[in-house]
Amino acid sequence: MTQKNRITGGQIDRSRTLSFRFDGKSYQGHPGDTLASALLANGVRLMGRSFKYHRPRGPLSAGSEEPNAIVQLREGARQEPNTRATVAELFDGLTATSQNRFPSLSFDMMGVNDLLSPFFAAGFYYKTFMWPAKFWESIYEPIIRRAAGLGALSRQDDPDAYDKGFLHCDLLVIGAGPAGLAAALTAGRAGARVIVTDEDFRMGGRLNAETHALGEASGADWAAGVVAELASLPNVRLMPRTTTLGAMDHGIYSAVERVSDHLPVPAAGKPRQILWRIYSRRALLTAGAIERPIAFENNDRPGIMLAGALRAYANRWGVAVGERVAVFTNNDDGLRTATDLAAKGIDVAAVIDTRTGGPLLPGIRHLQGAEVTGSAGRLGLSAISIRHANGKVESLPVTALGVSGGWNPNLNIASHHRGRPVWQDAIAAFVPPKDGPAGLSAAGAAAGLFSTHAALQSGAGAAVAALDDLGVKATLPDLPRAEDAPVAIAPKWYVQGKGRAWVDQQNDVTVKDVKLAHQENFVSVEHLKRYTTLGMATDQGKTGNILGLAVMAELTGRTIPETGTTIYRPPYTPVAMGALGGRSRGHEFKPTRLTPSHKWANEQGAVFVEVGMWLRAQWFPKAGETTWRQSVDREVLATRASVGICDVTTLGKIDIQGTDAGAFLDKVYANTFSTLGVGKVRYGLMLREDGIVMDDGTTARMGQNEWVMTTTTANAVPVFRHLEYVRQCLCPDMDVQLISTTEAWAQYSVAGPNARKLLEKLVDQDISDAAFPYMACGAITVKGVRARLFRISFSGELAYEIAVPTRYGDAMIRALMEAGREFDAVAYGTESLGVMRVEKGHVAGNELNGQTTALNMGLGKMVSKKKDAIGMVLSQREGLVAEGGLRIVGVKPVDPAQPLTAGSHFLEPGAAAVAANDLGWLTSVVYSPHVGSSIALGYLKNGEARKGQRLRAVNLLAKTEVEVEIVSAHFVDPEGVRLRG
């Protein structure tokens, strides 16, 4: 197929031809094209359907503000919904399909909505679909949901990679049009670190789309020359295809670089996109301006576009959108479109100018005081109707119409900190707020300075000023002569008429909808937006918001600034979720921490489980074991019968040293530590200031001023933070130092009657019961390697924890297992650890849930009232010490064959299953091979007094219940004989 609308000129590479497909049909274009420019070159104007009425639509713009030409790009897992054809860079083999239509773009059955549009006025759905009540969810809503939405996700995993990066600069220049390039040149030559971002793949901004000269060169050539110089400067980083998304605090800007979106697939090892955080000392917004339409009846047909876009397609892309065109304008810039197109040999049928009295364009039919009142054409524009100044109405056949209602400075990012844009009558538009993000200024069209001369001068001037702030001297470069036409505009927002005139084209919001909103008292901008959905479409209202505001202003008789402004929020344009997520997905979502015995455990075929960031061995299956229970029962029984070994490195370890360390521990623990003898370990209970248990663990006094604290795995980080808080903020003069040594030591629990015998084979010192009794600790050596030994027990057995420097962790587990071979030592994982601690009645995560007190855990006496420990005072509040409160209990099924379920609630026999009868719940359930049944710990109201009672453990989710007996939480060796053995 030929490119029938391709004309001469433009910044496309005609030496190469690219093939692409749209809705299954093949077309050709050139490097430098966008999908929209290439389709227009091929005579395709119809590219999409609107959201509500399914009206046929073609491009309104030539940029990222596009509301209409929205397509589904690519296929398969790379399918990308809602892509703007106006910014999608053409590549060979590109495929795109139209979306939100059935069965085809040219014949869309949902177009019936357009005929029914009187029923679909703004907010109609709030007033109906309520009868019968059930029908909303069963009938109406499913239909609406199916009809709504635009493009579709592939439902497959995104196959591309995304990266994140961080950049630093003195000056960030947002937008590489004339102002931005002049600024970058000024700052770059002064030696400042400069970053220039531009969403386009070709820097230059409007210079690429205009015909005015800069000095002796064309605008595009001047821009290319400056870009080349900037590229040669080592202190300047040019970032085309990079959209600055938002202004964060303190000079940080987020930006997304589309590294590979112009390629069929990313190059090997390259990401699709990169999310940048740019740390700038100063920033300059030179993002240009966005043209706005004038609303008139049926102003949405394919072929009707912004005048500047019509001109851009001709000048930059060598495309005549129509063979016969007209221009509708209220300002001088619209006239440029007419003269540019005429100069290109395009038949300009008329310029409809709402103003009167100015000079007439030579050689062009220039109708002053006229307006466009309507349009015709089924799937694209075929004619417009004009009302002349004298009231006469004329129908003029044209296939393209350029509309200009003036230009809005693209101040979006300048109001990200909620500064209010300021109205400027001279240009009939808002300019950036005075209280924008600190360090950000604006120049050029973004600041309301619309001439090329003013853009160059203000850009360079703003760079000088910004660098001056930073103490860097910069001088204004020699800037070329450029046009300096004043803004000549007579505001005109919409043309009176009976029919529908579109304000927000994608969401089908018309002037009538704005009027209805007004009639129903939705007059504030926020109400207007929400009630009509104005500005809520994928184009974020870039062309329609101000227009809607102006219509409302007229209706309420207020000025536009009185009516309000819209605040912009990040992102500047929609951004792929993949880019925001970066590499943190799949297995890389969070770091994985491996224990020192991981390699060894893996060799043993261990099953691993996620414990916070850690992977821990859950159990170690042996040949012939077909269920996890078999493995766990074996590990538990073997440990209690002889000896078992478990990696407990994940417990938090904190070295605490200093002459005030004992006093410090007295502050952070509810019980007393300063009295503990050297070489001894004590169990400690740590409270939050609100008296709730924060954590538990053991702390060992290794020397006079040297202590080692252990925390639970889950709380290692928060406990360390808390200790530092107490040390620095509450007790700043205490002589105490802290360091986390969690990763410095590999630590193993060696438990069971033969634990000592095993360790004696490895430890160089005497660890007999007399020399190293229960709750002893000390620095030892293992075959000459320095180590720490603690005689503590979580399992209830004779047990030790032995720590060696992490680099010996792998050797240590192998040595332990080797030394244990004669005792049939087993390795055990977290499941067996859990079984044995429940059998012993020790609390862990399920009991330490941040809602429970020492009293709940049966440890109330540990809270010393004699010292002002954190949490002591508030732990005694009436609600926390009330009679009959929750107490920890042991639970056994009356019938040992019946399994218990954690999370079941306690009810009295015969009591109804209602909250008033709720007595508590089962916190932790295990199968105890020792007891020979399922056993549990639980919190039970008045639990201490209920020992021996029979209750029901009810699981209403599974509709099961088990008769249980309340027992002591110590299922194994309640007197503690074994651990002292």
């Binding site: 605090d249 303190h250 600190a438 530092e724 903020c729 509450l730």
Partner: protein, 99 residues
């Protein structure tokens, strides 16, 4: 946000963990009150009641991914502008805390 650490210079706020109002430094001594009720009243006010100003706020940040300093940051809660950054230990001493 960027916090200008008094020892380390400007650091991204993402390296820090936030706690809250710096009045948490002014912890009452639980044993200094004539009655348990009075102690609880004081400790309740200290722990639970907040001025929560819209404007300047002195607050505690912990340089968790850094040097483990607790800092008192004076920040405007409306603009997020940071006016002052101090070591919490210095502030605690200035406010009369010792051991």
């Amino acid at each position: 946000m960027i916090i200008n650490h008094p020892l380390l210079g400007p650091r991204d706020a993402q390296e820090f963990t936030y706690l809250g109002d710096a009045t948490l430094i002014d912890r009452p001594d639980g044993l200094s009150f004539p009655s348990a009720d009075a102690a609880m009243d004081a400790m309740h006010d200290y722990l639970y009641q907040r001025s929560n100003p819209a404007g300047e706020h002195r607050e505690l940040w912990f340089h968790e991914q850094g040097d483990r300093s607790w800092l008192v940051v004076t920040r405007n809660t409306v603009t997020h502008e940071i006016l002052k950054v101090e070591l919490a230990r210095d502030v605690a001493r200035m406010r009369g805390r010792s051991k």
